[in-house]
Subunit: 205 residues, 4 copies
């Protein structure tokens, strides 16, 4: 039994490391914004391009922030770091590190079908890793989040849908991803009303 | 009531994550200094250009440092991380991450009207986010910083003014932003005298 | 005797700093993926190139993750940070920071003989530093990991072998490095069976 | 009196933030090594160039590591973070962040007189900031490091000398900076013998 678990790597240490990785992920994206600096571009064009990029960066930032917030709630009931928990957590961090990568695609190639589709894929990947991680944690702790699945399903449908919508209308796809972010930004109580879930456990949603 | 707050995300954890993000922000700016390396530029010119850039980097570094110091004081009275506190804090971190972005504009295009105006905007953004965050915290804790508003108003006027001054005289605008940094660098007591505020609460200013 | 040890730098502080460095190492690699963005490349080619790069990045990520996990177990029995422990730990961090460097070689020059050989060297370096660090710790604590040497020897042979195999068949070399990662990803118990070691100390392996 | 100090920003928090900044500084340097990737350069030349760069990176890494180690010892006796301590610490972090900048100069322009002189300047800056910080701390705590000044003086002379030597012989200058690193890497006891200081306080040196 002790062979199956890694008793000495405490949950708080796992959280501290995850926080460090997420802090880097959420910040290095700003380095990607350095693209529109060719000397031949006029200042007005450079500013217009940058505002577009800052909007995309803001979207990536909020999505990463949502993961950070919920990651804490998810790990809160964990008392013991098992081998599968450890690696599903690292899988989540890996998938989250694709978010700056997707942001770069748009920075390099603009708000066009292919880059936005790649960008949407970069949000689906951490969502899948998140489901894997929460399944591992639920099976360990026996605690299941109350209204989490509802929001998660809506988010998943919108994110996956954005991949295909992007091929026709990249701006609509960005709006869909933005709407997912907006859903999670609402104060917990309002979410509860929207999803008609009675006994909610707001922080875990 | 507990639905409105996120009881389990403690203030100290919020601070640790914010510190991580700020540590990355304050350090990655040095990566932006890599611009003046074309092989055809003479060494003397490269050094002259670099000294200018290091001065701008120093300004960005000090401003970020000021936010870091005051962020701790601001969060010090917080006992409970509410949904609005959480997201106004992330909004501040987002706006602070624009500081390296503004620094890059100057690195790429020199100390000219448009880049310095963009740079000044990148200081106004976190100042607004700061006011939002401190309003949220004041309404929660009921504690209001004594002389904070005075310095903050002076800083806000100078920072916003720098945007417009930059369009005519970029160096004057930089000097204005530098003067804001200087104001905050003064030891608390001297600030108190300058602003004629009686019962000050220096660290929170 | 107290002259030989640095009593005041505690093991937990050493671990926190190492975690910070590893968090940066594991995340900045994603910045290296920014290479395939020439405007003249078709989207399909860019995606194909990126999938290849993401596979290499995943490999680097897992290897770094393995070091992170095992680093905690290794330092767990340490009670006192000696001068040699301190610097062999920094040597490990230095060698681990070569992993992003090797990943960049492949990002710049593709999956070809020389880049993959360089990449393999970048995994041999931290493996040697790891052996030095664990030797220092064993001589201090007197605790020796049970099945660690077996897995470590297999990994070392495969990693060193990959350098030479890469010169003929770079993909085979990558597969060898990937197999090392797979070995460490197996849950502890299964490793124990594979290596036929009776009394295992799984987390330290 | 309380107006002069920032009672609520604890030394341990100051150390944690400094560690975060140093962790980023020591790691991002590896990103600077990405220079020698022009497709037209032969693999053998690229490897030769990279080995040179890794040697320089190693030097920068060790110097940064030395600062990290000694920073902990320096802050260890501090009980209260005053305004001047806070900002002299941030000044040290700023100067340390010039080390990656100096490393970049060599990466971009090779081991030539001017780049190595710039590189040496980037080591003199944090040495000066270090003296300022330790003066502030000594005047606060009344504790003065025993043999610190001896090593520090030798290091300062060698580092400042390297600036001028670099203009004639860049490799000799690098050797001088390397010798400084070697001096600090020696186990404390041996340093004590070398500098003939009786009652040493090794960790603080």
């Amino acid at each position: 039994m002790p062979d199956e678990s890694n008793d000495r790597l405490t949950p708080s240490r796992l959280e501290a490391f995850s926080d460090g990785v997420i802090a880097v992920i959420i910040t290095i994206m700003v380095l990607e914004l350095r693209v529109p600096s060719p000397a031949e571009m006029s200042t007005a064009d450079a500013i217009r391009l940058d505002l577009k990029m800052i909007a995309v960066y803001l979207l990536s930032f909020i999505q990463t922030g949502i993961y950070w917030v919920n990651h804490h709630y998810l790990l809160d009931d964990v008392e013991r770091v098992s081998h599968s928990l450890l690696w599903s957590n690292l899988a989540l961090l890996f998938c989250m590190s694709l978010i700056p990568f997707g942001t770069l695609w748009i920075a390099n190639r603009g708000v066009a079908p292919a880059p936005v589709a790649v960008y949407a894929v970069c949000f689906v990947a951490p969502a899948i890793a998140w489901m894997a991680l929460s399944t591992v944690i639920c099976s360990q702790t026996g605690i299941r989040p109350a209204n989490g699945p509802v929001i998660q399903t809506v988010s998943a449908v919108l994110n996956v849908g954005a991949i295909f919508v992007a091929l026709r209308s990249p701006w609509t796809a960005l709006a869909m991803i933005g709407f997912v972010a907006f859903l999670w930004l609402l104060p917990p109580r309002r979410i509860v009303e929207l999803t008609h879930t009675g006994h909610s456990h707001p922080p875990t949603r």
